[in-house]
Symmetry: C2
Subunit: 226 residues, 2 copies
DNA sequence: GTATATTATATCCAAAAGGATAAAAAAATG
DNA sequence: CATTTTTTTATCCTTTTGGATATAATATAC
């Protein structure tokens, strides 16, 4: 099945006149892993005739979505420069509407995807998916279905764990904590007191269902919140 | 000695008679991101005529390397089930010899790759590399060169940071710490005293140049040590 | 075997993290 | 405006970390 894919030149989308009711689909592929993105893009073009545009950062993605080109599907990598967990996903979903948004990830955790779907995402394409299945999933999603793989992703938190999204401030604090800064140092850095940071950390841990800051950092990293 | 069973339908490697001195190359592609692996594999086959075998776990990789098939190049993903940082990289390099081993990663940190190269790795292929460049890099490496991209990876630790590899015990302890376990709980889990764990944590932090356990967890996750 | 590392343990101690409660300060809401 | 909510701060406290030092118990090497 896999034959030539030439990576570079996708068909440009936009103004495409005189196509039937089921016109050719425009896909925005947002992934900084160009190697993968080009491969997917070329498969789309070759086997389905879908026009594909690439974006390598969140910024580029939003730019493309604001460019006026009407996309049918956005394939969004969870770990891309600029991405900050659920926060960014929501942003893209809003900007992409009414285009469908499906997530791509190497190892997303269950709860994040679940919440993302509740917020309008059309599912998840794990990077561990065989090539062949990819096309089927894309068409499935284009037809209006939601696709979530039954397995193949990290266990996440099977228990009671709602993937709340942290505020920008909380994300900043968690990031600093992940870099080894103490509460006192963080406080100094953002001009607050140590106690304030401590309260934020407690809030962060509660929201992430983390046992302590080390655990919070782990969860933050795995959900690419930070 | 099992015959090369290749993952999809790539040309089977091994006994390939009647090729010139520069015989066709056998490549082992170890990456659990099948989507990407198949794309690379097909590009290899199509544009270069290189036979490619896929492996999706460290275990499979080592099995292939022990199967008797002579590979010329192993492309090894840093984040694959079973992989534990430098430890596993060394293992693969040893098992692959005299085949060349080049790393693949979405976001490897500088120091790890540096140390890996000092241990015999032939360089790094970032997943952000354009498709076109991939072929060039592969041939470059096959010709005996080491390839390390000048940019496009996480800053890592620019300062004085030697990516030492942790012992199995240390990795286990760090992993438990990343899951929010306290020293006391870890001690209980592995039948040691709290103080012993504390000493190990200190040793871990020293080796990773981490400021504290939260930082150590971050580094451990980023280097996929845990 | 002895000598030399490595690993584990015991006691100290100071700093930081985690938790609770109450009260200002600021922001958002009506 | 007044009111409600959120954020920030203060003061307690307990547990956990992080660090130092010394001593036992294993290994590892010679």
């Amino acid at each position: 099945m896999n034959t030539p894919r030439d990576a570079s030149e996708q068909n440009s989308p936009s103004s495409d006149p005189g196509m039937g009711a089921t016109a050719r689909k425009n896909i925005l592929l947002a992934d900084d892993h160009v190697l993968l993105a080009e491969a997917i893009a070329s498969a789309m073009v070759r086997t389905q005739g879908y026009a594909t545009v690439l974006a390598a950062t969140l910024e580029q993605t939003l730019q493309e979505l604001a460019s006026g080109v009407k996309f049918d599907l956005v394939m969004l990598d969870l770990k891309m420069p600029g991405m900050m967990g659920l926060r960014s996903i929501k942003e893209v979903i809003a900007a992409a509407a009414p285009a469908k948004v499906v997530l791509i990830s190497g190892n997303a955790d269950r709860s994040l995807v679940q919440i993302a779907v509740e917020n309008g995402a059309r599912g998840l394409i794990p990077k561990t998916l065989p090539f062949e299945s990819l096309i089927s999933v894309v068409n499935l999603v284009l037809s209006g279905q939601v696709f979530i793989p039954a397995e193949g992703w990290s266990e996440g938190a099977g228990t009671s764990d709602q993937s709340a999204d942290l505020s920008d401030k909380e994300i900043g604090i968690l990031r600093m904590a992940s870099e080894g800064l103490t509460n006192k140092e963080i406080a100094l850095a953002i001009g607050k007191t140590e106690v304030a940071i401590k309260m934020h950390m407690r809030s962060i841990c509660r929201q992430l269902a983390a046992r302590n800051r080390a655990h919070a950092v782990t969860i933050g990293l795995e959900r690419s919140l930070i």
